[in-house]
């Protein structure tokens, strides 16, 4: 509850920053120089989640590099370890992922500001293990013999998944060169290798998979710092 409250608050602060510059003056004759450079950052939601949630441990670093007025090349690299305890299943998904692609700024900035309302496209790849730690055989007729609980793990190692991702997000410069951003991610699995006929239930970077669907969702709260390289 608290975390979602903080999330909503964050969204508002970000939006207030971006959206307060609505009255864009388009007929400005002076050319304001824009900063170009490498922006590096970290996902704060994953950082906070790792410290408060015993079943989750993860980190995601991100970087983007501005190519021109609108276009950035962008990448995220991350690690996550998740333990899920379901009714009949206890499993752990652990692995690394890399996403690479572009961000396109749809927002026309005022003066030399460099806030973003952007959409992005990524190709994501994850190498991970999904281990079934323990499970209870699902049997609706277990009144007679009792439930059968099995604690011999099933290890599925060296799995890999490939997906594409559409991103919609905002990034606001809260202090000089320091950015706070929020983004939503919609993912579509291209290829997901499975072992022992066990569906990949959670793929690091892709997040939770849904039964009978190749789509996934995600979001990020990112704080990043721009290392200016040149101005133009």
């Amino acid at each position: 509850m608290l975390t979602s409250f903080i999330r909503v608050l964050l969204v508002f602060t970000i939006s207030a920053n971006v959206f307060s510059q609505e009255n864009t003056i388009t007929s400005d004759s002076i050319h304001y120089k824009q900063k170009y450079g490498l922006r590096v950052g970290i996902d704060i939601n994953k950082l906070v989640n790792s410290s408060i949630n015993n079943n989750y441990n993860g980190i995601e670093l991100n970087a983007d590099y501005r190519l021109n007025n609108k276009l950035y090349i962008a990448t995220e690299i991350g690690f996550s370890k998740n333990n899920f305890i379901e009714d009949y299943l206890d499993f752990t998904s652990k692995g690394n992922y890399l996403k690479a692609g572009i961000d396109y700024n749809m927002y026309n900035n005022w003066l030399s500001m460099q806030n973003m309302i952007f959409s992005g496209l990524r190709l994501g790849y994850s190498k991970f293990d999904q281990n079934i730690n323990s499970y209870t055989i699902y049997d609706t007729n277990n009144q007679t013999w009792g439930q059968s609980f099995i604690s011999v793990p099933i290890e599925n190692t060296n799995l890999s998944s490939l997906w594409i991702e559409l991103i919609l997000g905002v990034k606001a410069e809260i202090f000089n060169n320091l950015f706070l951003g929020f983004n939503l991610e919609v993912k579509k699995m291209i290829n997901s290798e499975i072992k022992n006929n066990i569906q990949n239930l959670y793929v690091p970077g892709f997040n939770k998979t849904f039964e009978g669907s190749s789509f996934g969702v995600g979001f990020g709260y990112k704080i990043s710092y721009l290392i200016p390289i040149r101005k133009k």
Binding site: V8, D87, I137, Y138, N141, Q143, W145, E211
Partner: protein
């Protein structure tokens, strides 16, 4: 423009609060199948023959556990659950079954089933179910020393040694 931003914000908030889907294993999902037995006439193996007041008990650790749905019913087919923690199930089939002051009355016949189990992954919510293969049947208790005692069951026939669903009978029992 402000309108679009509002819409955008609402979408974000909806996403944050509502996208966690609860995973519940519903009754419509595949479950571990039971063994389906049909009773046939010993004199005419093609003919179904109902057992009068059939009561079936599972034998676990020398204890008899009545299968609640088979507690003295007259029927020519039953479905019984197989034991999952070991690959053997023991049953006592009682004909003309009745319970009088906690005492089991009727003619009993031991059924011993031996099989291999295969775990099949179903889903995140339901986990795994068991399927059974290599089914074999004894109409007496092979662990009891001496010549087998067979009572009212005169024979059996395995129709399908693979138990994956309950759509068709796996074993015919003749009496």
């Amino acid at each position: 423009m402000r309108f679009y931003y509002s819409v955008y914000l609402i979408i974000i908030i909806c996403f944050l609060t509502a996208c966690e889907k609860d995973d519940i294993c519903s009754e419509t999902n595949a479950t571990t199948p039971q063994l389906v037995i049909t009773f046939k006439d010993a004199n005419n193996n093609a003919e179904s023959k109902a057992v009068e007041s059939l009561g079936v008990y599972a034998v676990k650790d020398n204890e008899l556990i009545l299968i609640e749905s088979i507690n003295g019913i007259t029927t020519d087919s039953i479905a019984i659950p197989l034991r999952n923690d070991i690959n053997i199930s023991n049953f006592k089939f009682y004909k003309n079954h009745s319970l009088i002051d906690g005492e089991i009355e009727g003619e009993q016949n031991h059924i011993y089933l031996d099989y291999s189990t295969t775990e099949v992954f179903v889903s995140r919510a339901c986990g795994f179910i068991n399927n059974y293969t290599d089914l074999s049947v004894f109409t007496y208790d092979p662990n009891v020393f001496g010549p087998p005692t067979v009572n009212w069951i005169s024979g059996y026939e395995i129709i399908n040694p693979i138990v994956e669903n309950e759509n068709q009978a796996h074993v015919n029992i003749f009496h």
